[in-house]
């Protein structure tokens, strides 16, 4: 039966995790994400799962990686300072191909900054935060419903591509209450066991792909290491070819599957002269700004990025052929705008509305930029 609830965004995330099959959560209290841990501590024992509050965020992510190899779907939730602490083990997750979900409810940054205020402070930290080359997957919800839906999608992508998937939420989405519709049935991806043969190679994956993940304790006798490893999983750190092939495959399994992973939503773009590219909470002000602009005769459209990583390059490239001006509202001083500029490559003017301080853009602030561009063009 479809169920309707009026819930906090962070609670919707926890409900989504349970629906996706998450049965293990380790976390450390941090504003504005703590309600996710609280809700998981309440829900997990009801579903036979395990909740543990760890001594810090480094421990939290280590623990969910261990639990993932025990054969469970696992999650942690934190905010910017916690994400900073987790970075080394996030890299471990990539190189060992460990599925897990990391929720980042972003807040004013850097450092301790604004625990109770919103920001999109970590858009780039999630992309580049851990040392080395890797291609992350991240989803950015803009509503309570999306926080639920995207959490399920995050688990599915983590399982399908065997990597850590981040939910780039923020304080606005985490701390607001909205209607949540919990569907009757959700599509979830389950793990499959690899076939155990005499010459079983646990990391022998096809080009651009990954391979089924075994659980510990079932006789596969696998060695999992953060060192550069061969197809058997054994360290082979001084061999340039082994390293190149491993890291290239780990990146390509995401990049070559952009079409499957990337998700965007386009509205009012068909006749638009200006397109607003947004991601996460700022999208909430875009609709009203477009309505006001169109009332004044300015044709504005919207492209909402659901998956900031991998960046939806083709989709952004294509709008640069259609319009001369792109507006990027962000709750930072300019992070995703660099990606938009890189992909647009001079084919359109890119205008940042960078806002920090913790408060969402007002529609009027976006409208002001629209008018400024429109008047300049006339």
């Amino acid at each position: 039966m479809v169920e309707e609830q009026f819930v906090l965004g962070n609670e919707a995330c926890a409900l989504g995790a349970i629906a996706a099959g998450c049965r293990f959560f380790a976390g450390y209290p941090i504003t504005p994400s703590t309600e996710i841990a609280e809700k998981m501590s309440y829900l997990l024992p009801k579903y036979g799962g395990t909740f543990i509050q760890m001594e810090d965020e480094i421990a939290s992510i280590g623990t969910i990686i261990g639990a993932s190899w025990s054969g469970l779907k696992t999650m942690t939730a934190t905010s910017g300072p916690g994400i900073s602490l987790m970075q080394e083990n996030i890299g471990y997750g990539f190189i060992t191909e460990t599925p897990m979900v990391i929720v980042n409810v972003q807040r004013g940054s850097p450092s301790t900054a604004q625990p109770t205020m919103s920001a999109q402070a970590d858009m780039m930290q999630v992309r580049w935060g851990s040392h080395g080359d890797y291609e992350p997957i991240a989803l950015a919800p803009s509503s309570v419903q999306e926080f639920f839906d995207f959490t399920i999608e995050a688990f599915n992508l983590a399982e399908k591509y065997r990597l850590p998937v981040t939910i780039l939420a923020d304080e606005v989405v985490g701390h607001m209450r909205e209607k949540l519709i919990i569907p009757d049935k959700v599509n979830i991806v389950t793990r499959t066991r690899p076939e155990l043969t005499d010459d079983y190679l646990p990391f022998d994956a096809p080009e651009n792909g990954t391979t089924p993940m075994p659980a510990f304790g079932e006789g596969y006798n696998i060695h999992v290491t953060g060192l550069t490893h061969d197809k058997r999983g054994y360290p082979d750190t001084n061999n340039p070819e082994t390293h190149h092939n491993l890291i290239k495959r780990l990146c390509d399994k995401v990049l070559a599957n952009r079409a499957d992973i990337c998700s965007i939503k386009k509205e009012f773009c068909d006749d638009a002269d200006i397109i607003i590219v947004s991601c996460g909470s700022p999208y909430r002000s875009v609709g009203a700004a477009i309505k006001m602009a169109r009332e004044e005769g300015i044709k504005v459209g919207s492209l909402k990025i659901n998956t900031p990583w991998p960046f939806p390059e083709e989709e952004i490239k294509s709008i640069a052929n259609d319009v001369d001006n792109i507006i990027v509202p962000e709750m930072n001083l300019g992070q995703m705008v660099h990606e938009v500029e890189r992909v647009v490559a001079g084919k359109a003017n890119v205008h940042l509305i960078g806002k920090i301080g913790g408060v969402l853009h007002k529609p009027e602030e976006i409208l002001e930029k629209i008018k400024e561009i429109h008047e300049g063009e006339c």
Partner: protein, 287 residues
Amino acid sequence: MVEEKVSPYRKYLREERLPHLFCPGCGNGTVMNAFFKGLEQSDIDFEDIVMVSGIGCSSRVPGYVKCDSLHTTHGRALTFATGLKLGNPDLDVVVFTGDGDSASIGGNHLINAARRNVDLTVICINNNIYGMTGGQISPTSPRGSFGTTAPYGSRENPFRIAEIVGAAGASYVARWTTAHPMQLAKAIQKGLNSTGFSFIEAVSQCPTYYGRKNKLKTTIDLYNHIKEHTITKRKAEKMDVTELQDKIIVGDFENPRRGALCKALKELTEEVSGGPLATKSAYEELD
């Protein structure tokens, strides 16, 4: 012709990974032998063992053992091990770590794992130095000892790891040395058999770095040094603190039985859900 002597424990090793990377005279082999001996004498089956380690020479041990092994990040082995054990309490999780890995970068995880009394068996090979990175002092390096980052001798006080872990609440704690392989094996056996957090500190030698830097040039010199400085816990109890400063106190540091974590969490789940723990559920379709 002399028959080649093969270790009875060789069957537990990943043959294809040999030779190992440990230096001649390293204590890791002695500790591995003691581990296999203790394991065979314990109630645990080798087939149920999974191993976890951090970073350092000691942490390379699991990579040579024919079981599922998780070689993790520096200092964090206990966090990964906690997840594995709580995720599937049927696994017998053994952690190999060292003095730098467990007591320096991983110190907070060590005391918290002991406090939780999470059901793990931890073998800490304490060689008083960072071997993998080339001989820097560690939190257990004796005051006055030399390392590549203490060219004038260390001016810091060392940790006594076993005592810290005991004070933090582990069920079973012991310290022995590579010069006491039988006692070490016995302690590992006890550790494997006991519920809750078991911590066995194995004081060991690093001839390549600790020995060379501290005028203990041969492995024999190091063994003798360890032996000469060893004192049993019973004797130590009658001695003054100042007399004990450079002593290696060996024996069991057993704690009165405290509740272990796995049992407590199992009871919680059964109480709240009325059903069993959802182990390996990632492989199952949801109802």
